[in-house]
Subunit: 428 residues, 2 copies
């Protein structure tokens, strides 16, 4: 299968200027970028871009896809009540197969918004892994030591799943300091060390999380993990709203990345992460939507404009972070965090995870600065096409997957209603 994107504004995201020209995809990789594409033909499909932007797909560096069943549920709770009184008791009612079915709605949502990869933390990784593979979505599923897995399982899964050309990969982490026992942490450390993997974890999301940890352990969560050697292979930390000065030092020394989830942090009234500060410190920063229960949408456009706007309001400086730096967080940096550097930029040889953004939408006009238009004015309606691994999964509002969309929705609604019913029976 050979596809030609013709007459595109090519935003490679490698810090070079936008290039007007063609891009050829051969099977699942980029074969050519330039102005002389005809010699690479014939093509199975020619996409006339009419000057539209093509760029690497967004990388959603933190989500819990299967939590679609909790979307628009308990929207007015704070993090603690929401997590302990709603999420955990409802999650306890999930049955085998549910996570697989519920994840699919979240994958469709991400595909329609130009997200081509995500880092998905949830139970029973083989279920959401299967959902991604069936849909043709490139993802990373994160396992941790809990009822389902032991250390040896994690290492085995890691080695089995992470083959060279795997569409879905596997990573290792924990939920958080306040939900993980010392035994579980030490067991995970063993798996991290054996696989040379960074620890992936929710960290310093709320003020009370940090305060409780200091009260209990005399250390911040970051310091506590450091004392256990859990950062020895680096780290990927979700949220990072309340890092101390010493935490920031540890982040720099131990090569720990920040994944900011501004929409979720606002919704749960957790706080505003000091992203400008982290950027100035040279930390690697990606962007996550968090799950559909706490955001409630998986929309990188909303998150990008929040990263920009919250940095402005927090610092009082309307020049806090440039639009291009935010677009890098949402693409290249995310790819680095997901360990997917084979699809971070548009470059010959890289995987063809490409989106086309429609500059003929009125929010993209006139064009003073295409990057600023995307970051400050973009929304899901400008996503014209989403290609993952060389296959077009979404174009002009339609999905091209091997499954009926309505039946995906019906199944998800059925599970949602069943869990709702059981939850109310248990609690009333």
């Amino acid at each position: 299968m050979k596809t030609l994107f013709r007459n595109a504004s090519i935003l490679k995201m490698d810090d070079s200027p936008i290039l007007f020209g063609d891009l050829v995809v051969n099977e699942n990789r980029i074969a050519y970028i330039g102005s002389d594409s005809e010699k690479y033909g014939p093509f199975d499909r020619v996409i006339e871009c009419n000057g539209n932007i093509i760029m690497p797909g967004f990388k959603n560096a933190h989500t819990h896809n299967a939590m679609t069943f909790l979307r628009s549920k308990a929207d007015e709770d704070n993090l603690h009540d929401w997590l302990f009184n709603q999420c955990f008791p409802r999650e306890a009612l999930l049955k085998p197969g549910d996570i697989y079915a519920l994840s699919k709605v979240a994958l469709l949502e991400q595909i329609s918004g130009g997200i081509t990869s995500c880092l998905d933390m949830y139970f029973y990784v083989l279920e959401h892994k299967k959902a991604m593979e069936e849909m043709g979505f490139r993802g990373v599923v994160q396992g941790c030591v809990n009822e389902a897995y032991k250390t040896n399982d994690l290492v085995k899964l890691y080695n089995e799943i992470n083959t060279d050309d795997a569409l879905v990969r596997f990573s290792i982490g924990h939920h958080s300091e306040y939900t993980t026992s010392l035994d579980e942490m030490l067991a995970t450390k063993k798996a991290l060390d054996e696989t040379k993997s960074p620890l992936q974890i929710h960290l310093s999301e709320t003020k009370s999380e940090v305060e409780e940890c200091i009260k209990k352990r005399g250390m911040t969560p970051c310091e506590y993990f450091d004392s256990l050697g859990l950062w020895d292979n680096g780290g990927v930390c979700f949220h990072c709203v309340y890092l101390s000065e010493h935490d920031i030092e540890i982040f720099k020394k131990k090569n720990i990345a920040v994944v900011t989830c501004p929409g979720s942090n606002l919704k749960l009234a957790s706080g505003i992460a000091p992203i400008k500060r982290y950027l100035d410190e040279g930390l690697l920063i990606g962007i996550g939507t968090d799950g559909p229960a706490s955001n409630n949408c998986l929309d990188m456009f909303k998150e990008m404009s929040l990263v920009s706007n919250l940095a402005r309001i927090q610092t009082g400086d309307s020049n806090a972070i440039k639009a291009y730096d935010i677009l890098k967080m949402a693409t290249v940096n995310g790819a680095k965090i997901l360990n997917l550097e084979d699809c971070d930029t548009l470059e010959v040889g890289k995987y063809a995870d490409i989106i086309e953004l429609d500059l003929s939408k009125p929010s993209m006009q006139p064009i003073n600065n295409a990057v600023n238009n995307i970051v400050y004015s973009g929304s899901k309606d400008i996503v014209k096409l989403t290609m993952i691994n060389g296959k077009i999964l979404y174009e002009d509002g339609k999905f091209f997957i091997n499954e009926d969309i309505d039946s995906i929705y019906e199944k998800a609604q059925e599970i949602t209603d069943r869990i709702d019913k059981e939850f109310f029976e248990k609690n009333n």
Copy 2:
């Protein structure tokens, strides 16, 4: 022309529950809502809604449509530098016809996002009025005493334009305390009193605006206008980030509405308006996008989620404002502020300004709560159809207006490039 919306989830926005049924539009008004629509046929067009939401269109209570030429320009400036060093000098280069042409891009953007009315403050109202009329967009254009108009002109325009069935209406106001002379204010007061109109004005948008006014006049801007009797017919105030306790009392006593523009306030690092506080005080609150120069998009979905999220983070209470109350701000309250109560809700006899929201988009699934889905997960891609005054102007991503979209864009780009060139020639 008779149109039937069949099998819709009808969200009337009159505080009644969502009703499943049909809605009939006859010419430009709603003729029937219920489950027995067939007797109102035959219909020129039957829209099968498949359970999709139909609801009143969004009312954008503050914008400067023609500022599309400044979109993605000087995105890193603060309000003062942006206004005085970029906007004002570039606006001085506008020629007759420019405002008409530039406004059209903003109207397309709003139509594609389900906005069916806006309150548009800009120079030379007859230009943007013409743009709205040609496109079939219901709007209110705001004139003020400046080089173009004298008091008598304002009163004359008010009486001539505001006929009973006018698609575009006229209102009276000022830019702000810091850009209007006392003579101009008093002349406007005369026009306000003669037409019994509320004063419409940017108010307390930045801390320095308030501080400067107190320094200069010993009063807040709100108190100053009060001392001049400018609130005698009520008021509509844009931004209201920094109202004092006494200002709030004046707002209550003088029947002054708040139009919050959270996206713009963040972008210009102006601050976060205490909307929860205003709501508790019983003030009427609408939502505005502000212009394309300071937001940069005219997207009510982004604004609604900001109103929700900023109230949560500001109060520390994740239950600060309910989703339905935010949807009311974006529709019913906006209509009241625009003095367009003949299209505020879906009700027989009201103007048919209706949007259809596509619940088969993945961000709308599953459906635990349709209103929460719209407010927290909605984005422009869920807008399936926009009808204004009984006419479908947008459906399935396509515009149905009497004009070629590309030529609208070309004209706007031409003006933008010309002004850019002249600006640089003058400043270098």
